[in-house]
């Protein structure tokens, strides 16, 4: 592609050299995310921990996994203003909390019934 001035971007082809991460950061992210997947799998398949312990391990590795995805692959800390990605993330968290907490609240009828 020949270099040219592209004032209002057509969205195909990235002309400006944005910092979209290097091979090194992608490799590190990939390895960490694999490790974070393997840990809970080993714990579950081999029954290494108690029920509470297993749930805790899954929860912690899941949250770490989320952070790895956000920083190594989604480049959440890059980009200029306005910070659409931060706004989207905040709304995302609100909705995730609604889904999880809401489901727990709604489905607790089961324990009431039994």
């Amino acid at each position: 592609m020949s270099p040219h001035s592209d004032s209002h971007g057509h969205g195909h082809g990235h002309h400006e050299e944005h910092n979209h991460g290097s091979l090194k950061s992608y490799t590190i992210g990939f390895i960490i995310s694999i490790i974070l997947t393997v840990i809970p799998m080993l714990v579950v398949f081999n029954g290494l921990m108690s029920r509470t312990g297993t749930l805790l391990v899954i929860l912690v590795t899941a949250i770490l996994q989320l952070l790895v995805q956000l920083f190594f692959f989604m480049h959440i800390n890059e980009g200029e203003k306005p910070r659409y990605n931060v706004m989207a993330l905040v709304l995302g968290f609100v909705i995730v909390i609604t889904i999880v907490a809401g489901s727990v609240w709604i489905m607790s009828f089961n324990s009431v019934v039994q």
């Binding site: 592609m1 040219h4 592209d6 004032s7 209002h8 971007g9 057509h10 969205g11 195909h12 082809g13 659409y84 989207a88 709304l91 995302g92 909705i95 609604t98 889904i99 809401g102 489901s103 609240w105 709604i106 489905m107 607790s108 009828f109 089961n110 009431v112 019934v113």
Partner: protein, 656 residues
């Protein structure tokens, strides 16, 4: 050998019902006719080059439109079959299991394969033109979204003649949709049809968010953006957060069915109500996803045809954003009767009623815009006027349903059926039809005939009320949804018969529209750029109809909201905006990869449906191969030289 082929065919094809043999014959005849016509007129190359590989948002929009109208026809025929069965007591037109399959496919097709693509058709046809862009942010992804949708839709539709249709209701509640309740392949067609088209929907949501945030013409601040584009933005934000929930829920159901997991089964620790909880977290935002763009369409039409600026622009924007976020906090009202605690039900009853507030604001704004306007009643405005009372009644019955204790009486009765058809037909279908009438001349270069349009409008509208008002009373008389027949002793015969008459009137209204289009293709009035009597207000009316491939010869410099209106006003005062220099235009190249990749997705879905591992592997390899091919294709764009732009514009009667 012959016997085993016979056995296979008997399982593979749906047999035993004359209606289905009729469908087999008509599908075969239509396919042969299409192949014949394409070959006879030597149109295969044209089809491939102009349509199957296109990445032009206008053409993709037109393909979405055609597909959604076909799906409207299929879903409508389903509806008429049901109404025929219910017209009188003890009719033996459809058997119980066939009736189950028909109401399931009617619902699934109308929401996911009619409303969604018709919405995407309008997104594609209008948004880039309205914000002064030359295409969407990711044209390749846009084409891929369309083909994924189409392959998903085909997968669901093919179940009619191959393998058997899904019949567990449009949202497939377990345990009925589990292997124990639905051992056939219909449910797998349902899962894979929706999953594959769901990837497309999510991608379209992302695509249009980026398009609207990043590709507006210079000077068009967000608060100067036309309201339809705002409605698309709010709908896409909702898509972004709602569709992953659907994907996960159906993936869990798939794990249950395919690998014997127990997420939603009755035994093994599963909880089927969790599915209902999850699916409505998508399902409720989904109805707002489809209705928000309709609100945007009405805002454009009301302003144009009242020849006034929209009343309360800021409150319109605010109302839409509030609706798109609030829509995530109301889902329990679909299952108040599940037996959650009173706290839960009260909370969700109140959030549901709260949504009526921003919606009411919008209705008043439309009315105030019309107030003292010089309204011209052409098709788009007619449908808008039809929408307001219809949606109002639908909204009011919605608030009735939102009262949790009362809902125990209405739940799953025909009262509910009448309510949601009133908001979905009165709001979404009327809205999209209004939008199609409004932007048709822009996309196709000719107007749709008004006379036949009026016939269609009145048969649709009167038919609607004749069909659905009796259903409120049927519901109050105790008729529940999904019954396939009833006895004379229930006293429902007269109301049901009336309802069936109304349904057929709407069917006739649809036929009038088909006639209207066919008539207008030959005799329609030629449309100018500013097709509605020069009253257009937004940028799409500043360019020729139909627009050239690059939309805007020069990217407009926006100064005001409703910029085109101001340009015309200035011109009348003798103030001309300075002419801009033409530059070579950067455009995306066509690509066959979206079509090929989506076809492989179809194989994956079909393979999973029939447990054919070899086909899954072939399909998956194809999908990854396509991704690989795309990653290494660098020749994806080109420039249109200035001379060619000048020549194209000259042919369209514009000089530079």
């Amino acid at each position: 050998m012959l016997d085993s082929i016979k056995d296979f065919a008997a399982d593979f094809f749906v047999t035993g019902d004359p209606l289905i043999y009729g469908a087999d014959v008509s599908i075969a005849l239509v396919s042969i006719a299409i192949v014949f016509v394409l070959t006879y007129f030597k149109k295969w190359k044209w089809l491939w080059r102009e349509w199957l590989t296109t990445v032009d948002h206008k053409k993709i929009g037109i393909m979405y439109l055609i597909a959604s109208l076909l799906m409207l026809f299929r879903g409508g025929v389903d509806a008429l079959l049901m109404r025929t069965q219910l017209a009188l007591p003890n009719v033996e037109f459809l058997q119980a299991d066939h009736y189950n399959a028909i109401f399931t496919t009617h619902g699934t097709i109308m929401i996911l394969f009619m409303a969604m693509p018709m919405m995407f058709a309008l997104f594609n046809m209008v948004v880039p033109l309205q914000i002064g862009a030359r295409d969407v942010a990711f044209p390749f992804l846009n084409a891929l979204s369309f083909w994924l949708f189409l392959m998903g839709a085909m997968l669901l539709n093919v179940s009619f003649v191959i393998g058997g249709s899904p019949d567990a209701g449009w949202l497939s509640y377990p345990p009925l949709s589990e292997l124990s309740g639905s051992p056939g392949v219909g449910q797998d067609f349902y899962i894979w049809g929706i999953q594959i088209s769901g990837i497309g929907s999510l991608a379209t949501g992302i695509n249009f968010i980026v398009t609207i945030l990043k590709m507006r013409a210079p000077g068009m601040k967000l608060m100067k953006m036309p309201l339809f584009s705002w409605s698309v933005l709010s709908a896409c934000i909702t898509i972004l957060f709602a569709f992953p929930i659907l994907t996960i829920t159906l993936a869990l159901l798939f794990l249950d069915r395919y690998f014997g997991a127990h997420f939603f089964t009755l035994d093994g620790g599963g909880m089927s109500m969790m599915y209902v909880n999850l699916i409505w977290m998508w399902g409720h935002p989904e109805v707002y996803i489809v209705v928000l763009p309709a609100f945007g369409i009405f805002s454009e039409i009301v302003a144009t045809f009242s020849k006034k600026t929209i009343f309360g622009y800021k409150s319109m924007v605010f109302a839409m954003m509030v609706i798109s976020v609030l829509s995530f906090f109301t889902w329990v009202h679909h299952f108040f009767t599940m037996g959650s605690s009173a706290d839960v039900n009260s909370f969700f009853a109140i959030t549901t009623m709260a949504i009526a507030i921003p919606t009411g604001v919008k209705v008043f704004n439309w009315l105030f815009t019309m107030f003292r306007g010089r309204i011209s009643f052409q098709s788009p405005m007619l449908w808008t006027m039809g929408f307001i009372p219809c949606f109002l009644v639908g909204g009011a019955t919605g608030v009735m349903l939102a009262v949790a204790p009362a809902d125990f009486q209405y739940h799953n009765s025909y009262f509910l059926i009448a309510h949601f058809h009133q908001v979905l037909i009165g709001g979404v279908v009327f809205g999209y039809l209004a939008g199609i009438y409004y932007w048709w001349p822009k996309l196709f270069g000719f107007k749709l005939d008004e006379k036949r349009g009026r016939w269609a409008f009145w048969t649709w509208n009167i038919g609607f009320y004749v069909c659905f008002f009796p259903q409120y009373f049927l519901g109050l008389d105790g008729m529940t949804r999904r019954v396939y027949t009833y006895g004379w002793d229930r006293g429902w015969a007269a109301l049901n018969f009336t309802s069936t008459i109304g349904a057929f009137m709407m069917g006739i209204g649809f036929l009038f529209q088909v006639w209207q289009i066919a008539y207008s293709v030959r005799k329609g009035e030629r449309a100018t750029g500013d097709a509605w009597g020069g009253n257009g207000r937004t940028l799409e009316w500043s360019i020729p109809s139909p627009p050239p491939v690059y939309n805007f010869a020069v990217v407009p410099q926006v100064k005001h909201a409703d910029d085109w209106f101001h340009v015309k006003e200035d011109k009348a005062k003798g103030i001309e905006r300075p002419k801009q220099q033409l530059e070579p235009i950067h455009m995306p190249k066509n690509s066959a990869i979206p079509f090929v990749m989506a076809s492989f997705f179809f194989l994956v879905g079909f393979g999973f449906t029939f447990h054919w591992t070899w086909m899954i592997i072939v399909g998956a390899l194809g999908v990854f191969g396509s991704l690989f091919a795309r990653s290494f294709s660098y020749d994806v764009d080109y420039y249109i030289p200035v001379d060619e732009v000048i020549e194209t514009e000259r042919k369209l009667g514009r000089s530079y």
